[in-house]
Each structure stands twice: as structure tokens, then as C-alpha cells.
């Protein structure tokens, strides 16, 4: 025990949370490139008026897949990569509560993502937006298989997310080391906990709405069919009851990361720890009560619009509290501007811009002017790129030594940060103006002379710079993996438990389970190691999670191909579940 066996098979059958984290990370990086290329194509198409680089059809597929990919196959799995690798280490556990279930989650995610992207090669990707509003998605208006790929692929990936989230909730509730009370949990673990609840509560309504859609398309039910009395707004409600909490699923992990990074590089404990925790919980709680602010222009009536306006504005309070606590943490601290810190400060600054434009269209009358324009595109890219992506990169630079035992090159990291920072602002800031000048979203081209040509030129230049920044990161990433492993246990002099063990950690993480005595255990002599040796068993590798997930993939494929494949897939999944249930664990 203590070392890893190599080989492809050991990765396929792994149930180790650290290796699953690495799998999630590499997969999400791959999809980051896919989604980035889609974004580049969109930007190149919009660079000049009446451009003919892309057809309207191709453009619709690209913006749909760009959204789905970046949200569900990049930000969520990259967050999951950190959940997997970091959370058990931060709470003093040897693995997650259900290691095989964890592997199963990964396989469901990757199969779902690949399945959905395969649609490009089988008759075209979904072209109805990531929100897939009814009744554009009906078999009458979307006769191809794109929407079916959307339903079935997201069923797989969504199930993977729910299963992973259940696992993390149990892990954080039940696998904390002695003395690791909830109010001593590192902020990243706290936000993982909150996000996991959001996932298990937000994804089921989406599952149900896609089942309705599937039945409408395949079996002629009338859920979203106006001619049969169905109401397309039902989709919007169910979708946004999922879709708005999803926004917080995307941002709260990044908030958790910077809440760990900023104290480390300020040499100060997080300012107002309990308030930051409660703010995160409050954001998540309010996140379930604001879905209809995505539907102000639908005509739900003044009372409904006012209520959803008010609740939306309320969210600015806990978010603002977090911003001020990060600033107060830095205030008077011994700041070190390592790459991780640069990205964290970048998040704080950029999220303020995205947050403020969010408050602007929380007001229903203002939103009616902004909705469906590039102003909204500018807003959510400041939140998702300026927030989630910058925060996740902070995490990459921060935990890279823990994961690999090596450092990412710091000067290249700074180049990466500044290029990305300049690139994203050049890309997204002009979109505010383009939107206020009336440039519509989801429109593949527009005639000259409408007054927003230059904004689009600048946006496209910015996108190119952002793309170069990603390239710099990839060079840094690959180069750093080839350097000698020199990282000590705690290279950043951080305070949390994951830095108390070797970099990279041994298979079993902790030789002896630490007892935690304070919130920043590595700063305050807060760790007591038991005197006695411990006896423990690490779980065996297993291929049953892969078999079960593969069965479900075949089942989903069968839904497009024919009943025999559905039955075969179902049978394989059942065999997988029974093999799994009766397999000896240790």
C-alpha cells in the first residue's frame, strides 16, 4: 500500500478519489478546448456584418453546444475534479463515502458528454439553445435527432451529477476527522456541500421536463403541444427551476476556491468566516426562488414579476457580503501575488461587474429592454468566465503542487492571467454596448450600419487573445508536468488539512487520522496525531461501475436506434448493478 500501480486498466477500474479527480480534470480540459473552438467560430462569424463563414444552421448548433459544453462539461466537471481531489483531503478522510459510486458518476458524465457531442457526426447537434425552449423542440419544428441527443445525453450526465452530489453530501456529513466540526470546514468544502444540495434538488425538475419532452417527441403526449392544450411555458418554469440554481452550481465552487486561496496568500484567516459560510447558504437558498426572472418577458403579470424582481435583488446582499469579506481578508495582509492569487483577485473584480449588471436586469422593466440582447450575454460571461473560469484557474495553480508534486511556472502563470484578463474584458465588455445598441442574441449575422460593428470587431480580437491565453496555459501545464517533483507538503504555507500530507498524497492520504483543534489547523498547531498505528483497508479497484454506466450508455443509444439495443443496454446495466452489489469491497 502507498504507491499506485500504473497502466490503463488501473485508471479504468480506479475507485480512488484522487485519480477520479484527475480524470474529471483532464476531461473538462478537453471539453474546454472543444467549447473554446466553438466560441472562436461564433466570434469569427460575428466579426463582420453579413459574414458567410457559418450558415445559420451551423451557427445555431455551435452556440447551443458552446453553452451546454461550457456549463455542463467544463465548469461542472472541473469543479467536480476539485471536489474529488480536495474535499476528502480537507476533511481528513481516506476516500469518499462510496468510492465505486464515485467512479460511476465519472463514467456517466463522460459518456453523457461524448454521447451528446457525437450528435455532430450523426445528423447535427441540437440547435435550440442550451435552454431548449418548447415548442421549438417539438418533433414538428426539430425533426432531426439533435434534440433527442440533448435529452438522452443530459440524462446520463445529469444522473452522474446527482449521484456524485449525493456521495459528497454523505462524505462531508460523515467522514470528517475528529474535531473537524462544520464551522471548522474549509470554505471550499463548505461550498462543495452547498453545491451538492443544489445539484440533488435542481436536477430532478430538469429530468422530469426532459422526460416530458421525450414523451412528446416519441410517444405523442401533449405536455408542450399548444394544439392539445399543453402550455410551452411549463418547460420554461421547470427548466429555470433547474437552470437558475445551476448558475449557483457553477459559481459557488469558484467562490469556495478563492475563499481558500485569498487567506493563504494574504497570510490572514478568512475575514468573517461564519458570515461567508451563511452567505453561501443564503445564495443557494434564494437561488430556488428567482427562476422566473428568466421569464420577465413571458408575461406572468406584474405581481409575479415584482416578487421575482425583489427576490433577485436580495441575492445581491449575500454576494456583496462575500466580496467585502474577501477584500477585508486582503486588507492589511502580507499579500503574495502568485498566479493563484492573481486569478482570485481577478474573480473578485470581474464578478462585481457581472453581479452589478445582474442587479440591473433583476428589475423587470429594465430587463424587458435588455432581454435577448448582447447585454445579457455580456452579463453572464462576466459571471461565468470572470467568475467561474478565473476561480477554477486559481484552483488549478493553487492545488497543482498538491496533485502532481510539481509547480506550474509562475511567470507563465502571470502571462496567462494578464492575457486572459485583457482578453475577456475586450471580448465581453463591448457586448454591453452592442446589446444596448440592440444587437440580438442567437442571431447568426446582421446587416451593416446598425451601429455595433466595431463592438463586434473588438470582441473578436479579445476572443483571439483569450484563446492565446489558454494556449499559454496548456504549454505551461505540459512543461510543468515534465519538471522534477520538488513540491513539499505545504509549499504555499496554507492553513488547511490537505497541506499537512505529502505532495502528491499517498493512496491512503493520511497515515494516521488527524484530530483537528482549530479552523486553520496548520497555522495554529491545530492538528493532533494519534499515537497508535491505525488499521484500515482501502477499497479494491472495480470495473462494475464502468459496466453499469456502459449499459446505460447503450440503453440511451438504443432509444435512438431501436428497442433491441435498449434491452441489451438495460440487461448490461442490471448485470453491472448486481456484480457491483455482491463484489467484496476490501
Amino acid at each position: 500500500m502507498g504507491t499506485y500501480s500504473g497502466g490503463l486498466w488501473s485508471w479504468i477500474t480506479t475507485v480512488d478519489h484522487k485519480r477520479i479527480g484527475i480524470l474529471y480534470f483532464v476531461s473538462s480540459l478537453f471539453f474546454f478546448l472543444v467549447g473554446g473552438i466553438e466560441a472562436m467560430l461564433i466570434r469569427l462569424q460575428l466579426a463582420t456584418p453579413e459574414n458567410t463563414l457559418l450558415t445559420a444552421q451551423a451557427y445555431n448548433q455551435l452556440f447551443t453546444m458552446h453553452g451546454i459544453t461550457m456549463l455542463l462539461f467544463v465548469v461542472m466537471p472541473m469543479s467536480a475534479a476539485f471536489f474529488n481531489f480536495v474535499v476528502p483531503l480537507q476533511i481528513g478522510a481516506r476516500d469518499v463515502a462510496f468510492p465505486r459510486l464515485n467512479a460511476f458518476s465519472y463514467w456517466l458524465f463522460i459518456f453523457g458528454a461524448l454521447f451528446l457531442n457525437a450528435s455532430f457526426f450523426f445528423g447535427g447537434a441540437p440547435d435550440v439553445g442550451w435552454f431548449a425552449y418548447a415548442n421549438l423542440t417539438s418533433s414538428q419544428y426539430s425533426p432531426g435527432h439533435g434534440v433527442d441527443f440533448y435529452i438522452l445525453g443530459l440524462a446520463l450526465a445529469g444522473a452522474g451529477s446527482i449521484v456524485a452530489a449525493l456521495n459528497f453530501i454523505v462524505t462531508i456529513i460523515n467522514l470528517r476527522a475528529p474535531g473537524m466540526t462544520f464551522m471548522r470546514l474549509p470554505l471550499f468544502t463548505w461550498m462543495t456541500f452547498v453545491v451538492s444540495f443544489l445539484i440533488i434538488l435542481a436536477f430532478p425538475p430538469f429530468t422530469i421536463s426532459t422526460v416530458f419532452l421525450l414523451f412528446d417527441r416519441m410517444f405523442g403526449t401533449l405536455f408542450f403541444e399548444p394544439s392539445g392544450g399543453g402550455d410551452p411555458r411549463l418547460w420554461q418554469h421547470l427548466f429555470w427551476i433547474f437552470g437558475h440554481p445551476e448558475v449557483y452550481i457553477l459559481i459557488l465552487p469558484a467562490f469556495g476556491i478563492v475563499s481558500d486561496v485569498i487567506p493563504t496568500f494574504s497570510k490572514k484567516p478568512l475575514f468573517g468566516y461564519p458570515v461567508v459560510v451563511y452567505s453561501g447558504v443564503l445564495i443557494a437558498f434564494l437561488g430556488f426562488g428567482v427562476w422566473a426572472h428568466h421569464m420577465f418577458s413571458v408575461g406572468l403579470g406584474r405581481i409575479a414579476n415584482s416578487a421575482f424582481s425583489g427576490l433577485t435583488m436580495l441575492i445581491a446582499i449575500p454576494t456583496g457580503v462575500k466580496i467585502f469579506n474577501w477584500i477585508a481578508t486582503m486588507w492589511g495582509g502580507a499579500l503574495r501575488f502568485k498566479s493563484a492569487m492573481l486569478f482570485s483577485i481577478g474573480l473578485v473584480a470581474m464578478f462585481v461587474i457581472g453581479g452589478v449588471s445582474g442587479v440591473m436586469h433583476s428589475s423587470a422593466p429594465a430587463d424587458l429592454q435588455q432581454t435577448d440582447t448582447y447585454f445579457v450575454v455580456a452579463h453572464f460571461h462576466y459571471v461565468l468566465f470572470g467568475g467561474s473560469i478565473l476561480g477554477l484557474f486559481a484552483g488549478v495553480y493553487y492545488w497543482f503542487p498538491k496533485v502532481t508534486g510539481r509547480f506550474l511556472n509562475e511567470p507563465l502563470g502571470a502571462v496567462h492571467f494578464w492575457l486572459m484578463f485583457i482578453g475577456m474584458n475586450l471580448t465581453f465588455f463591448p457586448m454591453h454596448y452592442a446589446g444596448l445598441h440592440g444587437q440580438p442574441r442567437r442571431t447568426f449575422t446582421s446587416p451593416a450600419g446598425l451601429g455595433f460593428e466595431w463592438f463586434n470587431v473588438v470582441s473578436t480580437i479579445g476572443a483571439v487573445i483569450t484563446f492565446v491565453a489558454v494556449f499559454v496555459f496548456l504549454v505551461n501545464f505540459i512543461r510543468s508536468l515534465r519538471t522534477a517533483p520538488t513540491a513539499e507538503a505545504n509549499p504555499w504555507e496554507a492553513s488547511t488539512l490537505e497541506w499537512s500530507i505529502a505532495s502528491p498524497p499517498p493512496v491512503h492520504n493520511f497515515d494516521r487520522t488527524p484530530e483537528v483543534r482549530s479552523r486553520d489547523p496548520l497555522w495554529h498547531d491545530g492538528i493532533v496525531l494519534p499515537a497508535a498505528e491505525e488499521v484500515f483497508h482501502m477499497p479494491n479497484p472495480s470495473y462494475w461501475p464502468l459496466v453499469t454506466a456502459a449499459g446505460l450508455l447503450v440503453l440511451m443509444t438504443g432509444a435512438l436506434v431501436g428497442l433491441p439495443l435498449v434491452l441489451i443496454g438495460g440487461a448490461v446495466a442490471v448485470v453491472g448493478i448486481y456484480g457491483w452489489s455482491f463484489e467484496p469491497i476490501h
Binding site: 456529513i173 460523515n174 440533488i200 430532478p204 429530468t207 410517444f219 401533449l222 405536455f223 392539445g228
Partner: protein
């Protein structure tokens, strides 16, 4: 059991959390059912079809299965091998009778002209009760699996948490049915006797 921070088994925390997630699943179905109530454009309509006395009987059967589940858990915890097998089997059989009632009801409705895509009631009714039925079916398979373990003497008191978790699931599925019975049947305006 392995040491846990709360002293509650991981499997039980997992099941409780899963039940939370399931509440949103059935909540969405029920909300849709209510939103589309009385909005079917063509018949047959719910108050002409729903047979409350018949469903009251199968509801009673399902509730009794929860009682059998409690007795099964108690038998497993006591190490009563005969009782474990008997009550697990009875729980599953009562679940199967409930499912049989649902199959009968569905085929009767289909015969009355309520195809899946007939109107809004047909879609919401078949999917809502169908989702519940699928949960019952999975529960029955799970219980029968535990029953075979009990028969082979592999379900001693040290494994009682397995039965407890299956029981949590089973009781939850029953509770969902109580809500569905109320919302779909009792509130439908169909004749109660």
C-alpha cells in the same frame, strides 16, 4: 459499521439525501399534474375514469406492505431468520399486488380510449403514476434480492442496515403514493362510492 462523524451509517445518510432529491422529482410531476388539471381538450376525462373504491383497496394493500417492511426489519435485527424471509417476501408480494392493480387500471383506461397521447390528463396521469409504479417495481426487485439473501442465511443482524435502507426507500415510495392518491384520485371529483 465503520466509524462515521455522526454515528449514522453512510448508507442511511445516502438514502435520506436521495429521498430529498426524489421529493423534487415527484414534486415536479405533481405540480405539472395540478397545473394541467381540467385542461384536457377532449375526453375521456378524469372524473369519468378514475375508480376511487378500487384504488382505495390497492392503496390499502400498499400501506400494509409498509407494515410488513417494519416487521421484516425487526426480524432481521433480532436474527429471526424465518421471520426475515417471510416478511420480506410478504412486503414484495403486496407491492406486486399493487402493481397488478396498476396494470389492470392502465389497461382498463386504454380500453376506454385513454391512449398515452389522448389529452393532457392521459400524459400527466400515466407519467406520474408510472414513475411511482417504476419505483415500486425497483423496490420489489430489491426486496426479492434481500429475500434470497435471507433464505441463504446471509442476512444476519450485522447486515440489518441493508434492510433498513431498503425500508426507508419503501416507506418513502408509500408516502408518495398517499400524496398521489389524494391529489389524483380524491381531488378528482370522481365518485367516491
Amino acid at each position: 459499521m465503520e466509524r462515521t462523524s455522526t454515528g449514522v451509517a453512510n448508507e442511511k445518510v445516502l438514502m435520506w439525501t436521495f429521498i430529498g432529491s426524489e421529493c423534487m422529482l415527484f414534486g415536479s410531476l405533481i405540480a405539472t399534474f395540478l397545473a394541467y388539471r381540467d385542461r384536457s381538450l377532449v375526453g375521456p376525462f378524469e372524473e369519468e375514469l378514475l375508480n376511487i373504491p378500487f384504488i382505495t383497496v390497492t392503496t390499502f394493500v400498499l400501506l400494509m406492505s409498509s407494515l410488513m417492511m417494519v416487521l421484516a426489519l425487526s426480524a432481521v435485527q433480532r436474527g429471526d431468520r424465518r421471520g426475515s424471509g417471510l416478511f420480506l417476501l410478504l412486503t414484495a408480494v403486496l407491492g406486486l399486488i399493487f402493481l397488478g392493480g396498476q396494470v389492470f387500471e392502465f389497461s382498463h383506461f386504454a380500453h376506454e380510449g385513454l391512449g398515452l397521447g389522448r389529452n393532457l390528463f392521459s400524459g400527466t396521469f400515466y407519467l406520474t403514476t408510472g414513475f411511482h409504479g417504476a419505483h415500486v417495481a425497483i423496490g420489489v426487485i430489491w426486496l426479492l434480492t434481500l429475500w434470497t439473501l435471507a433464505l441463504r442465511g446471509r442476512l444476519g443482524p450485522e447486515k440489518s442496515v441493508k434492510v433498513e435502507v431498503a425500508g426507508l426507500y419503501w416507506h418513502f415510495v408509500d408516502v408518495v403514493w398517499i400524496v398521489l392518491f389524494t391529489v389524483i384520485y380524491l381531488m378528482s371529483g370522481a365518485a367516491a362510492v
